[in-house]
């Protein structure tokens, strides 16, 4: 199957709707559960999972508060104001640079980026970044809103950007502006780690772009500049975050993702998530048909999905009775047995264990015996 065929197949699965754009957050989320075929297919096809989940009556529950959005936007605007004056001061301090002059290039087109194809924007980003990498003079450049591309499961995916790339002396840094606070040098560990993995997606994409053009990919630094509000104020502070570990994770996870062609080959040929909207935009397809289509692709649900995947509530419902739904630690502690009722039957010795279950069954039986003894009030 050629790549064109794959693209056509994905378009057919998506149906008539416009493909949903990726961003670093969705890519980063994808790497958190690389074994999930359902997610890989839906994401590669650019399907609006949020709409799909609502349509099958398992709506996603992560809305965003307008207060958080407003705060994030205000902070970003403040840092970028006056040709990113505040950002430059921070960069000079953090990177120890004495940059006399810095140009500011906004790569989003003036006419509005929604109308322009990603291919065109990507080409422009590419030209400008290559020019900057070639003519490494004294002057630095800030590139706002570059459009990047990354291969996910063998398909190119464009990243709706939310970052600044900074170039000085032929070296690039990714600058990520986030509105969570760094209080006394400490920030929420979960937020920092998701910022780091998102930045790593950008570093990887920029490295791929420059490597294709014949540059050393290492000219994109693995030190990402994270800009956040300091303490309880609106004043920005910047820290360098080393994302080498995240890059390694990302490369490994993206590499492990089964190539989408192989996944598609195993699926029913008429698989489609087309909601078939009528003239008024109201979906006409039976939700039960969508459920059947979803069931055709294997999912790998873990409770972590609830925070990152729009379809998680559907998959959780489907995974009821599976030990995986209780979290990976519980599943492991139950000897890796798939189903809850199997684990209990083994524990209470009402099911003869299969050969590979013998060890788990012995452990579960011992645990069940000890639990019963302690609950019966036997002396310890």
């Amino acid at each position: 199957m050629t790549s064109m065929n794959t693209a056509e197949r994905l378009a057919a699965i998506r149906g008539g709707a416009k493909p949903k754009r990726h961003n670093a957050r969705t890519i980063a989320a994808l790497t958190r559960n690389p074994g999930c075929a359902r997610r890989a297919v839906l994401d590669c096809a650019g399907i609006d999972k949020q709409r799909l989940a609502a349509y099958v009556d398992f709506p996603a529950r992560f809305g965003q508060s307008q207060f958080a959005i407003a705060r994030g936007n205000a902070f970003e605007a403040q840092v970028k104001a006056d040709g990113a004056a505040e950002l430059l001061t921070l960069l000079r301090e953090r990177l120890g640079l004495s940059i006399p002059e810095v140009a500011y290039d906004d790569l989003a087109s003036v006419t509005g980026r929604e109308q322009e194809s990603p291919e065109v924007r990507y080409a422009r980003t590419r030209t400008l970044l290559i020019r900057a990498a070639t003519g490494a003079g004294d002057a630095g450049t800030l590139f706002d809103h570059p459009l990047l591309r990354i291969n996910v499961a063998g398909q190119p995916v464009y990243l709706e950007p939310d970052l600044i790339a900074f170039q000085a002396g032929g070296r690039f840094h990714v600058v990520e502006i986030k509105s969570f606070a760094i209080v006394d040098g400490q920030a929420d560990a979960g937020k920092v780690s998701s910022a780091a993995i998102q930045s790593a997606v950008y570093v990887l994409a920029m490295r791929e772009l420059l490597a294709e053009a014949g540059f050393d990919p290492e000219i994109v630094s693995h030190d990402v500049v994270l800009v956040c509000p300091r303490d309880f104020s609106n004043r920005p502070t910047a820290v360098l975050v080393d994302v080498r570990k995240q890059l390694a994770v990302l490369r490994r996870q993206l590499g492990r993702m089964t190539r989408i062609d192989e996944l598609l080959a195993a699926l029913p040929p008429d698989l489609s998530f087309d909601l078939a909207p009528d003239a008024a935009g109201v979906p006409t397809r039976d939700p039960a048909a969508i459920v059947t289509a979803l069931r055709a692709i294997d999912a790998r649900y873990t409770p972590d999905c609830l925070a990152v995947c729009e379809l998680a509530y559907f998959c959780r419902h489907e995974a009821r009775g599976c030990t995986a739904a209780l979290g990976p630690a519980t599943r492991e502690a139950l000897g890796g047995i798939d189903r809850v009722e199997t684990a209990l039957a083994l524990a209470h010795d009402v099911l003869p264990p299969a050969e590979e279950q013998a060890e788990a069954a012995a452990l579960l039986q011992a645990a069940a015996r000890l639990r019963a003894e302690a609950l019966a009030g036997a002396p310890a």
Partner: protein, 505 residues
Amino acid sequence: MSTLVALARAEAVAAGFAQRTTTVRHLHVAARPLVFVPLSMAGEANAPLAALVGTDPAAPRLLVVPQPRNRDQRFRFAAELAEVLLPYLDSFRGVAEAVPVNRGKEIRHRYVDAPQVLVPNPAGIQFTRLLGRSTRFRRTDGDYPVHPSVPLLGRWLTFLADRAEHPGSCLLLAMTEALTLHWATGQSPLEDNHLAALLAWIDPPDGLTGAEAAARAEDPLTWPPAGPLTDPTFDNEVLAPLIAAYAEAGDDPGRQARAREALAEALRGQLAPTWRLMWRGLALLRDLPPGARVAQRWAEDRDAFTGFASYLDEGGHPQPRRDGAVVAAQRLHRLERALQSYAVQRAYDDPLVMADYRLTGEAFVGEVTLADPNRIDDSGRRRVLRPRIMLRTTDPVQVTPGTAVYSPDRPQQKARVVLVTPRPDGTGTDVVLELTGGLGRALTPAPGSVPEVGERVCYTTLSDGFMPPGEFPAREETPWTHGGPPTADEEAVEPTAEDALEEWE
């Protein structure tokens, strides 16, 4: 997660109700706890939005910040919280008891009771920590003066949040953690962070299984999030228009009062369900019988409370922004010791917790089959009493001869494993133990000090014995490899005028 807890989760799935993972309560539940349910504004570092706080389930005090980005209103919130919290803390400073120290050569005092603050979840503890951080350096003079209660509140909140990291401490507790310590639900630990769903599994309303009730509890309309973050839909559809209406009311006192009232009602609606859940959780915890060593740990909490109260009486400065190297190392060492001791104490107090260690071979229970209580060892210079017992166990025994083991029933006594012999007919293992200590002073053992034939006893490698404190250099002698002596941010010092000016908007 231990296999026993995982098994309890599996049983909860099958039963549709949460299952106990302990036979006793491992926490102290105060007679008069204070419940604190804070809400903060999304997107901000630590912008209080509202709170319900108080010691009477029927009469919580509602605190509201109509304009959370306004600096003065934030400090007014802190001052109002102080009006509730500080008198509550003070009320435990009436009666003290004398405690002998240094082998009875000296005495010190500690209060006979201490405060206990409960928040819904770990994020509530983090909110408490940040509110403490943002208020403890404030000054009552100079620019932006605050009410004297504000910096005092900050020091107390910081103390409580620090103490919450101490394993086994009960001065500041997160309800979700207190409950999951005692029950396993049929959902994942991640979902257990949702207080309403967790309580639904443990104590569902009549006619519903825990699983059904938990599914309903996930609807944010009936069960708003337990905070500090609010439901985004509530933010967008209810809160934003009400805050805007308050802002538009301007200086018109009538309009402003009405807008404030509307806002207060909406926020009360978000907080009240969690407030009720907190007291239900408390009642469930109170119903459990306490473990034998809970009182001992609560005494340590009372010591910590007494110590910090006198530190403040002596004009103690606010806790530093960061710990210096030596203080940090000492703290870590203390926490590690507390963690180990807490784990051992829970196992000693609770056969169901000890079962975890039996499963992994770190403990075994058996019946005494032979006993030689009057055995004398005369191989050394002095004749000494060294009773021996043999017990038969069906537990997997992983200990080897020479290992020291202890029994929760006789914690002062040490036993040395002499022989481990699997029985030839496969009915278990015979273990011979030699006992030292806890036998009295004579060459015959005190009555009851040696297990008798037929008694079921538990022995474990876990020891709750004295752990010597680590040695650390003086703070001013911090080696350069660890950053040298503490900087200003790492020492408790009088806040400067600059500290008080710290932006908070």
